[in-house]
């Protein structure tokens, strides 16, 4: 039964670790499908984590914290749009600016308001999201396999974990089954054709960025008001970049991006599990090697050695309306 317990803990941590990656990848998907590069997922996730933790601390409600985080992230997305869509500034530069700005500002403000360590105060149980236990989880646990899956794997996660997995089919439906999604993809592929069809390219890109801001806020709130009970400096720890890698690895598709997020989440869970463990025949695997796997995989995929990742055609190019 020890293998079951091991497996359960590995699967549970995979689901938990993948959650912010999924939100971030879906957020990135909207921006990039509309033709706007989004490297600023990292900065926005950090912002959301900070705002959610501070908001929840002051107002005593994690939901209010989440709403404030959404407002903050949408504002940053609008800033990105203002710089790169309206003023046609370089999209990558704009993202780098947002990332560096928010890495600095979140910790600087946390230090100014709550002391030099740059931590926000620990949230009480009322101020954060708690694990949700499914009904009858304890009763069913003894049933073989079904009980294991229901009680040990599916039950007992934070609300964001469930929301993340629900978001993927919704994103798929919006992007591939609605007229909004069709326009969104068209704007990212061939904006001048969309423009000549009478659709406002700028408005489409701003709408995509707005959805992007909402989704990324969930990733940050998950980090600071669910998994942890406070904000600490640089707590997003590269997850924004990892999510971007997952998005590319998933070829800008919700379904494959989800698989990439799970794969990256699994390598991270495995890396934590294998720390200091001697494996038979192999010996100790350096954890850094496993940590580097997602990045190496993404580079290999981008190089076209395994499959080919081709992004939206108009990505990174500001749209200039002809007179």
């Amino acid at each position: 039964m020890e293998i079951f317990a091991d497996l359960a803990s590995l699967l549970n941590s995979t689901l938990r670790i993948s959650t912010p990656l999924i939100f971030a990848a879906m957020a990135g998907l909207f921006a990039e499908r509309s033709g706007v590069i989004d490297f600023s997922l990292e900065g926005k996730m950090l912002t959301a984590a900070f705002v959610a933790a501070v908001g929840s601390y002051y107002f005593g409600s994690p939901w209010l914290g989440l709403i404030l985080a959404i407002i903050a992230c949408v504002s940053l997305s609008m800033l990105h749009g203002f710089a790169s869509v309206t003023h046609k500034g370089d999209q990558v530069v704009s993202c780098v600016a947002i990332n560096i700005l928010m890495i600095g500002l979140t910790t600087a403000l946390a230090a100014a308001w709550f002391g030099q360590a740059g931590l926000t105060p620990t949230l009480t149980d009322e101020q954060r999201f708690l694990e949700i236990t499914f009904p009858f989880a304890d009763a069913i646990r003894s049933i073989p396999i079904i009980g294991f899956i229901y009680s040990d794997i599916l039950s007992g996660h934070y609300i964001f974990v469930y929301l993340a997995y629900i978001s993927v089919p919704i994103v798929f439906w919006i992007v591939f089954k609605t007229s909004f999604g069709l326009r969104l993809r068209a704007v990212g592929e061939n904006p001048s054709a969309v423009d000549s069809a009478g659709i406002n390219v700028f408005a489409m890109r701003y709408k995509a960025l707005m959805i992007n801001g909402v989704l990324i806020a969930f990733a940050g709130a998950h980090l600071s008001t669910a998994v942890n009970a406070n904000f600490f400096r640089e707590m997003s720890a590269g997850r924004g970049y990892l999510a971007l890698a997952a998005l590319i690895f998933g070829k800008w598709h919700p379904k494959t991006a989800l698989i990439a997020c799970l794969l990256f989440g699994f390598t991270d869970a495995l890396q934590i599990r294998l720390q200091g463990v001697e494996l038979p025949a192999i010996g100790k695997i350096p954890v850094q090697l496993i940590q580097a796997i997602p990045y190496v995989l993404t580079v290999v995929l981008l190089a076209g050695f395994v499959g080919k990742a081709i992004g939206p055609r108009a990505i990174g190019q500001p749209y200039i309306k002809e007179r």
Partner: protein
């Protein structure tokens, strides 16, 4: 846009001097607002910054030490950018460059000191350049976007270096993840030692010979980009790849050369940190200098003459900033990371925010004067 002006009528000093200064002032005003939100007086903070970075000789030496790092990473970003390549990987390239410096200093320490120094510099350039070569090759030959691959390579470099520092080249007599120190005679002479030589007594500061190397690198970049055939070709590829191809210029070759030189320049950061300051590889020594290089290059408009004052400005912010964090309990050093972000925003992404207004203002003024 109501105020579009004819680009050819705008004097160079308006677009290359006035507009960047206007953008910088905007950025500093927003930064002042942040300091105010954090509960401190921005004017007092500015006073502390100026005192900390210029007020006493060691403070100024610290400023120039930071400036050295920013010149290297700023030049690195600028060279690649002239070929329209966005090298975000300066951080990783500098980190790997440290290996080249370390190996040269450890394995060739029997040679005369100046030769080891040259080998160490070559090592920094070769290792940093090699780390940039892979993304460059993938961009040139396989079309993988260099921004994404260089970001990935930063993470891979970080994992690789931690692995090496923990398991392979760690100083086993010490707890921390760092290597053994290189031989003492190989340490770059510091400003303090230089002062003793000419009879001035100053306290320790990390400023060392690398500063002169940074100046030499600036001259080298200027010569390379604006005075050689290769620099011309590279800029041609950056401006208009199709036109360059018609002119018989190979974009592949130029992409790879630009990135390798960029990586080599980033690698030189390791000379300052490894030979000049720590005298060994410590984990995480690039400490964000690579990213700040982006801001430096953008502010300096990718020209060595602009990069120097921009690097000095960031040196002032770093050194003056540590003075501020010392005296103002509400300001942490992260506040100055935020300031960098604001500067990148206004002098990079939003550089055209007030450009039309500023340019038309000056053009109209000059026209009036001519007519009058």
């Amino acid at each position: 846009m109501s105020s579009v002006v004819d680009k050819s009528k705008v004097p160079w000093w308006v677009s290359n001097l006035i507009v960047p200064i206007v953008n910088l002032i905007l950025a500093l005003l927003v930064s002042a607002l942040f300091i105010f939100i954090a509960g401190e007086n921005p004017i007092e903070a500015v006073k502390l910054i100026i005192y900390g970075s210029f007020g006493y000789i060691e403070g100024f030496a610290y400023t120039l030490y930071y400036t050295t790092n920013f010149i290297f990473t700023g030049l690195a970003f600028a060279v690649a950018f002239h070929c329209r390549l966005f090298n975000i990987g300066g951080e990783g390239q500098a980190y790997i460059g440290g290996l080249g410096v370390y190996f040269a200093a450890i394995h060739f320490s029997f040679l005369p000191v100046p030769i080891v120094w040259i080998l160490a510099i070559a090592g920094a350039i070769v290792f940093g350049g090699a780390w940039a070569f892979i993304p460059a090759y993938l961009q040139a030959k396989r079309g993988s976007h260099v921004v994404i691959t260089t970001i990935m390579f930063n993470f891979i470099a970080s994992s690789l270096m931690i692995y090496l520092l923990v398991d392979v080249i760690r100083d086993t007599n010490q707890m921390g993840p760092h290597t053994i120190a290189v031989a003492k005679e190989l340490w770059f002479p510091t400003f303090k030692e230089f002062g003793e030589l000419i009879g001035i007594k100053v306290r320790y500061s990390p400023l060392n010979l690398s500063f002169l190397l940074a100046i030499a690198a600036s001259v080298f970049v200027w010569f390379l980009v604006w005075r050689t055939k290769w620099g011309y070709e590279m800029r041609a590829v950056g401006h208009n790849t199709q036109a360059a191809i018609y002119a018989g210029i190979s974009p592949y070759k130029n992409i790879i050369i630009a990135m390798v030189i960029s990586g080599g320049l980033a690698g030189l950061l390791a000379i300052n940190e490894v030979l000049g300051v720590h005298h060994k590889i410590v984990s995480g020594f690039p400490a964000g200098y690579g990213f700040t290089g982006i801001a430096v290059a953008l502010m300096g408009r990718n020209h060595p003459i602009g990069i120097f004052p921009a690097a000095l400005l960031f040196g002032i912010l770093y050194q003056g900033g540590s003075e501020v964090t010392f005296d103002m309990p509400n300001i942490s050093r992260y506040m100055f990371v935020a300031v960098q972000g604001v500067i990148i925003l206004f002098s990079g992404a939003l550089e055209n925010l007030f450009r039309p207004q500023v340019e038309s203002f000056f053009v109209n003024k000059l026209n009036i004067r001519k007519k009058g």
